[in-house]
Symmetry: C2
Subunit: 348 residues, 2 copies
C-alpha cells in the first residue's frame, strides 16, 4: 500500500534552504527542503517547498523514482532504524536499484502536504523535478521510473525536459486519464464535498479509490465470507479491511491534497508523439484504473523507441506495489536492455 510507512513530517524550514545528512556506515543519504518559486500551469506563481531525498553512492547515476499520489520521497530506508519506504522491495543490495551502484532521487508531490489549495498539473510536478535537479547539480537522470501518478509525471517530464532524462519507465500510467476512471475519481471528490472534507469523508473517498486499485479476483479470494450485521447496518466481508485502510489514510492525508492531486490526474494530457526518450511502458492486464488498451495506445504513439510489457496480476493497479518480483524482472529488462527504434511488445 502507498501508506505502508508512516509519513514522516519535516518541520517547515525557512526558505530557501536545504539540509542533508550522510550515513557513514552504509550509504550516502541526503534529504532536504528546497524553497522554490514555480509558475504553475493553472494556479499562477507559487512559492512551494520541495521535499526531496537522495539515497546512494556519491557520484553514481541518479534514477528518479516516483510513485502514486500518496507516495512520498521516502522510497526506501537507507540506514538502520529507518522505516521501510513505499518501494523498499526495489531498492537495496542485490535489488533493481542497488544503492551501492546507483542513486535514487524522489520528492514529495507539490500539494502533497495539503497546504496548497490550487489546481495542480502533472507538468507542474515535472517542472518541480527539473528545478530540483538544477539545485542538486544533477545534469541528467539515468532514468525516471514512475508508477501510477509517477508515470504520468515521468511522461510530462520527458515531454518538457527531454535533455534531462535518458530513459523512462512508465508503470500503470498513461498519456491521459481514462474517462471511466476519471468519473470514478470525480465521484470520490464528491464524497469529500458531501462530508465537508471531514475525516470520515476522506476515509470513504479513499475506500472507493482502493476498489479501483484492486480487482474482483483478489476480493473473491480474500473476502468471500457472508456479510454480518453491525447493529442495523450490513457489513460486507471486505469492510474491516476497507475501514482500517480508510482510517489510516484519513489520519495522515489532507482532503485538500486528495482533491488537488486527484484533479491533477484527470487534467493530465500529454502528447506521446512529442516524447523521444526511450520508454518502457508496463501495463497490468487486470488494471481497472489504467486499462491495458490505454497503455497499448500510449506505447504505439510514443515518438521515440518504445516497448510495452504486460503483466498479469490479481492486484490490478496496485501490482507495482504488490508484485515486487515480477516488477523487478520487468524493471531490469527496462533499465538494462537497449531500446531500439523499433517497437516491441513483450508479455511477462
Amino acid at each position: 500500500m502507498p501508506l505502508a510507512t508512516p509519513l514522516d513530517r519535516l518541520d517547515e524550514p525557512s526558505c530557501p534552504t536545504t539540509h542533508g545528512t550522510v550515513a557513514p556506515d552504509r550509504v550516502a543519504l541526503a534529504e532536504g527542503v528546497l524553497g522554490a518559486t514555480l509558475a504553475l500551469r493553472h494556479a499562477g506563481v507559487q512559492r512551494v517547498n520541495l521535499r526531496w531525498r537522495l539515497v546512494g553512492a556519491d557520484g553514481a547515476p541518479v534514477h528518479a523514482v516516483l510513485g502514486g499520489i500518496s507516495a512520498t520521497r521516502h522510497v526506501a530506508a537507507a540506514r538502520d532504524g529507518e522505516p521501510d519506504g513505499w518501494w523498499q522491495d526495489q531498492v537495496g543490495p542485490g535489488r533493481v536499484f542497488d544503492i551501492a551502484r546507483v542513486r535514487v532521487l524522489s520528492f514529495d508531490w507539490i500539494g502533497r502536504d495539503g497546504t496548497l489549495d490550487a489546481p495542480l498539473d502533472t507538468r507542474d510536478q515535472a517542472d518541480a523535478l527539473a528545478v530540483l535537479l538544477d539545485h542538486l547539480g544533477i545534469a541528467r537522470l539515468a532514468s525516471i521510473v514512475g508508477s501510477s501518478y509517477g508515470a504520468m509525471v515521468g511522461l510530462a517530464f520527458a515531454e518538457r525536459h527531454p535533455a534531462l532524462v535518458e530513459r523512462l519507465v512508465a508503470i500503470s500510467g498513461a498519456d491521459r486519464a481514462d474517462p471511466y476512471a476519471a468519473a470514478w475519481r470525480s465521484l470520490q471528490r464528491r464524497v469529500l464535498d458531501l462530508g465537508r472534507d471531514g475525516p470520515e469523508a476522506v476515509a470513504l473517498a479513499r475506500q472507493f479509490a482502493m476498489l479501483s486499485y484492486r480487482t474482483p479476483e483478489e476480493f473473491a479470494e480474500r473476502f468471500d465470507a457472508e456479510p454480518t450485521w453491525d447493529g442495523d447496518r450490513l457489513r460486507c466481508a471486505a469492510q474491516d479491511y476497507l475501514d482500517a485502510a480508510g482510517s489510516r489514510f484519513a489520519a495522515v492525508f489532507s482532503p485538500i491534497a486528495f482533491r488537488r492531486l486527484s484533479e491533477s490526474i484527470d487534467r493530465h494530457r500529454i502528447d506521446p508523439a512529442r516524447i523521444a526518450t526511450p520508454t518502457t511502458v508496463i501495463a497490468i492486464e487486470q488494471d481497472r484504473l489504467v486499462p491495458l488498451d490505454d497503455l497499448r495506445r500510449l506505447a504505439r504513439g510514443l515518438g521515440g523507441p518504445a516497448r510495452l510489457a504486460v503483466l498479469s496480476s490479481r492486484y490490478g493497479h496496485d501490482a507495482f506495489l504488490k508484485e515486487p518480483a515480477a516488477i523487478a524482472r520487468l524493471l531490469r529488462v527496462a533499465l538494462d536492455t537497449p531500446l531500439h527504434a523499433t517497437r516491441q511488445d513483450s508479455a511477462a
Copy 2:
C-alpha cells in the same frame, strides 16, 4: 435505465384489497394492491402491500418479469396513453412477450416504496410472489424472467417454490453476490450514512452504482472530452450525465429503499444444486457487477437442466435494458427451446 419511466404512485389502499381494470380495446390489464402478512427472514412478521400488475390475454400463460432494484411492476405500457415501462422493448405485438398470447405479471419489490425500514431478503421477495400467485389464482408460472435483482429473486423462487414455475431465465444475477461488487455496494450505503440520507447522498450513491452498471468501453466512447472547471471544482466529461441521472433517481427513490434493497443483494445466497427448474443463465461478458465467472459457476452448479448464454456488450450489467435486440434473441431461445438434462453453453 431502470428509471426511464416516471414511477407512478398508487394511493395507499385499505388492506387487504385489490382493484383491477380491463382495457377493452387492446389487451386485458389488471392492477392491484394486495395487503399481505409475510414472515420475513430477518424482520419478523410484517404487513406489506404488494403492488402488482398483470397484462395480457385472459387465461393465457403467465410469465413473471422481474427487473433491477429500481424497477417497478410497470414492465410495459398496455394501453394507449400509458407511459412506456422499463422493459417495453420486450413486451408487445411481435415481441418476446406478445400480450395477445401471453400474460406478463410483475410487482413492486417489498421495500421498494421506502416504508419498510427492515432487513430484506431475496427469499422474502420470492415468497411475496408466491402469495401473489395464490391470490390471483395462478397455479403455475410459465416462466420467471428476471434481470439483475430479479434474477436473484427468480433463483430464490425456484429454490423455494419449485412447483410454481416451469422455467427460469436469470439475466445478470447469480446465486450470491460477488465480494467485490458487495464492497462497492457497501460503500454506496456509506455514502447514504455520510450524507444522512439526504437527496445529495442518494444521488451520489446512485452515481457510484451507475459506474458499476456500465463499462469503461462505453465511457471511453461517450465521455472522452477534457474536464472543465465548475468554479473551483473539476468536472469530468461524464459528470453532466451522472448528475442528471443521480438527481432523477433521488427525486423518486427513498434512501431507505436503496439501503434495504442494496443490503438484500449482498445477503443473497441460494444453493444452485437445489434448483431443478430448467434454467437459462444469461451473462454479459463485460458485466463489472456480476462477473461472467460467477454465472458460469451458477450454470454449472444448477441441479436441473441448465444453459448458459454469453452476450458481449459495452453496456455491461445494463445490457438487459440497453441491448433489446440481442436480449430478445436470447430470450426466444430460452423460452421456446426445450432444455434437456444435459447442460449446454452458447455464445451470442
